[in-house]
């Protein structure tokens, strides 16, 4: 029951009063979430709510559950979460919703039945397409490529990878995806996996890493190796992490949305839910401060926009 409002379990519930919003990223110590949560914090302070960020050390679903439970106990108004697993945290989320907490997922979604709203950074098709386009352009639309992903069962990564595969086979017959490996969003693992990829596939032309930790590790490895210039690295990354590699030519271009805006939007969406302005129905609209107005789409999803490509000419303008 997303619209139940028995939310007086000890929190400061009720609309009109200060709205408490807790951000639960996949894990702490991840700069991507650091940036998005910063956006969330800005938004919350703009509408005068109470902001908190909690999270586990490791990006695993069982580690996220206690934090969700805690949110339910605290009776906070809204929980903004990036899911480590589409199902494993579902029941906990529903319990929190039963206790009156609104649940907004962002970045990585759960099954729709476990949340009130999903803030989509970009459509999965758009994200897959921009990455395929970048790598196709960089390697001249033919040759072997590989994917360096995050955890083997990360929802969003797997969805994008599937779409990329479809796009590749439909539109880029000369590009062959030879392998997909998993760096678990760990610097060292991603780095070593890159090294193994390059060894195993001497003819590799490109590596696509749809995760910020992975792309930085791959770029770092390639930048110092004999493959620099021969193997293209692209994917999703943050400008600060990638600046060095764009400047030294290892990476021509990579893409991302603005994670800060993502957090900002998620916070405002949470507020709109708590205030009862929207319920997650298709067509609901709400305003998100400086980002303007947004409309809820299919499956209670709100779209941030298209991913943005960073390259040598524009990267200097960004700092996140």
């Amino acid at each position: 029951g997303g619209s139940s409002d028995g939310g007086d379990k000890g929190g400061s519930g009720g609309s009109g009063k200060s709205v408490s919003v807790t951000f639960l990223p996949k894990n702490l110590g991840n700069p991507y979430f650091d940036t998005s949560d910063k956006g969330g914090k800005t938004a919350v302070s703009e509408f005068g709510g109470k902001f908190a960020e909690v999270g586990p050390e490791k990006a695993s679903p069982d580690a996220q559950v206690p934090f969700i439970n805690t949110a339910a106990q605290q009776g906070i108004n809204a929980l903004v979460v990036s899911a480590n697993d589409p199902k494993a945290i579902g029941d906990a989320l529903n319990e929190a919703r039963d206790a009156g907490t609104k649940v907004v997922t962002f970045d990585s979604d759960t099954d729709p039945k476990y949340r009130d709203l999903f803030i989509n950074q970009a459509t999965a098709e758009g994200i897959a397409k921009v990455q395929v386009d970048m790598i196709a352009k960089q390697i001249g639309d033919k040759g072997d490529i590989a994917i360096l992903s995050a955890a083997a069962n990360a929802t969003n990564q797997n969805a994008w990878i599937d779409l990329m595969k479809q796009d590749l086979s439909a539109n880029h017959p000369n590009i062959k995806l030879v392998d997909t490996v998993y760096g678990n969003d760990d610097d060292q693992t991603s780095f070593d996996k890159t090294s193994a990829l390059l060894q195993k596939y001497p003819n590799l032309k490109g590596i696509v890493s749809p995760t910020t930790v992975g792309i930085a590790a791959a770029a770092r490895y390639v930048s110092d190796s004999e493959f620099k210039g021969k193997v293209q690295v692209t994917g999703l990354g943050t400008p600060n992490q990638m600046r060095k590699y764009v400047e030294d030519g290892t990476v021509q271009a990579f893409a991302l949305w603005n994670p800060e805006d993502l957090g900002y939007l998620a916070a405002f969406a949470a507020k709109a839910l708590v205030d009862g302005k929207i319920t997650g129905k298709e067509g609901d609209t709400f305003s998100a401060g400086k980002l303007g107005d947004f409309t809820v789409g299919k499956d209670a999803t709100v779209l941030l926009g298209d991913p943005f490509q960073f390259n040598k000419s524009n990267i200097a303008k960004f700092n996140f």
């Binding site: 702490l28 070593d192 770092r220 600060n240």
Partner: protein, 343 residues
């Protein structure tokens, strides 16, 4: 180890050295390592015969090699240090912070500070173990949590990126001299010094004596506590150095660096023939063990084994190593007992 029985052997020094080398645990592990490299190379030439392949073969084990060296020293004294992964994370982050907060700071100073910080954390472990008379396993399990918690609080979601650190430092991570990576040379030099100390210095031999029988060491008048503390400090310092190396090699440092690496370090030492209850083994063995662990990890995917199975192979390797040790030890002692009938 010499297998001679009661009477002095009549073999020449050269013969003895050769037979010692041939029968030692270190060479057995080295042999396995060579097999693994050979198999991977046969499968994919570039595993060994490419610039990067060669470099990674030497470079990737450097961090674990440092950790295993320190761990071996501690295990030889019949202790264990589980906090090395957290120490590594702390010093790696410290390294990054030093560069961020003090632009232009000399690299050598950063290396020294990293090692000192590690040594300090090791000293805490050593003091708690030696003075509190609490088993090292428990103490370092506690400090594993504490040190990790400290990095997490300190670093938060902050991450040090490659662009935060000077190129001169980062290039250490890949630079080579005569095709041998600088970091590997660093690790090997450290290994050499520690190995040499353990073998030829009085203090080093005392570490073995203490691990062999702590009570006898006390009766004998050895400074057991001081030596044990020293071993922990050394282990901490090497973990600190490993943290600096980590920063140079991977370029990005988050608070999760080096998670779960402590069991790998212990595993490397055990595979390399360092007895878990002290007194025997060498850092050479631990180093080769570390090399083997890392190289197997790299070779498995090339050999067509899905990398998900790597951990299982590592586990089987550790078990194989300790079972082999037991079989050899039993055989040796049976021989010694039976020799008494003849004598």
């Amino acid at each position: 180890m010499t297998d001679t029985l009661v009477a002095p052997s009549r073999r020449s020094t050269a013969q003895r050295v050769v037979s010692t080398i041939l029968t030692s645990r270190e060479s057995a592990i080295a042999f396995v390592l060579i097999l693994v490299v050979a198999a991977a190379t046969l499968n994919t030439n570039s595993f060994l015969f490419s610039e990067d392949g060669w470099r990674d073969l030497l470079l990737t084990p450097a961090i674990l090699l440092l950790l295993a060296t320190g761990q071996a020293v501690v295990i030889i004294t019949r202790n264990v240090d589980l906090s090395v992964g957290s120490t590594l994370a702390l010093t790696a982050y410290l390294t990054g912070r030093l560069f961020v907060d003090n632009p232009g700071i000399p690299i050598i100073l950063v290396v020294l500070i990293g090692m000192l910080a590690g040594a300090g954390l090791g000293l805490i472990n050593g003091l708690l173990v030696a003075l509190g008379r609490v088993p090292a396993l428990v103490i370092t399990l506690g400090t594993l949590y504490i040190y990790r918690g400290v990095v997490l609080s300190w670093a938060g979601s902050n991450r040090i990126n490659a662009s935060d650190m000077p190129d001169g430092f980062l290039s250490l991570g890949t630079k080579s001299i005569l095709t041998i990576p600088v970091l590997t040379i660093l690790a090997l030099v450290v290994l050499g010094i520690v190995g040499y100390y353990l073998r030829t210095a009085r203090g080093g031999r005392e570490l073995y004596a203490i691990g062999s029988d702590p009570d006898a060491a006390n009766l004998y008048g050895l400074k057991v506590r001081r030596r044990v503390i020293g071993a922990f400090v050394l282990c901490g310092a090497l973990a600190g150095l490993a943290g600096v190396v980590y920063a140079a090699r991977y370029g990005t440092i988050s608070s999760g660096a080096g998670q779960d690496i402590e069991l790998q370090a212990v595993g490397a030492a055990v595979i390399g023939g360092v007895a878990i209850f002290g007194g025997s083994g060498s850092v050479w063995g631990a180093a080769i063990g570390a090399w083997l662990l890392i190289t197997i990890n790299r070779a498995l995917p090339i050999l067509g084994v899905q990398d998900f199975w790597q951990q299982a192979v590592v586990g089987a390797l550790i078990l194989g190593a300790i079972v082999l040790d037991r079989v050899l030890a039993t055989r040796r002692s049976r021989k010694l007992v039976e020799a008494r009938d003849i004598a």
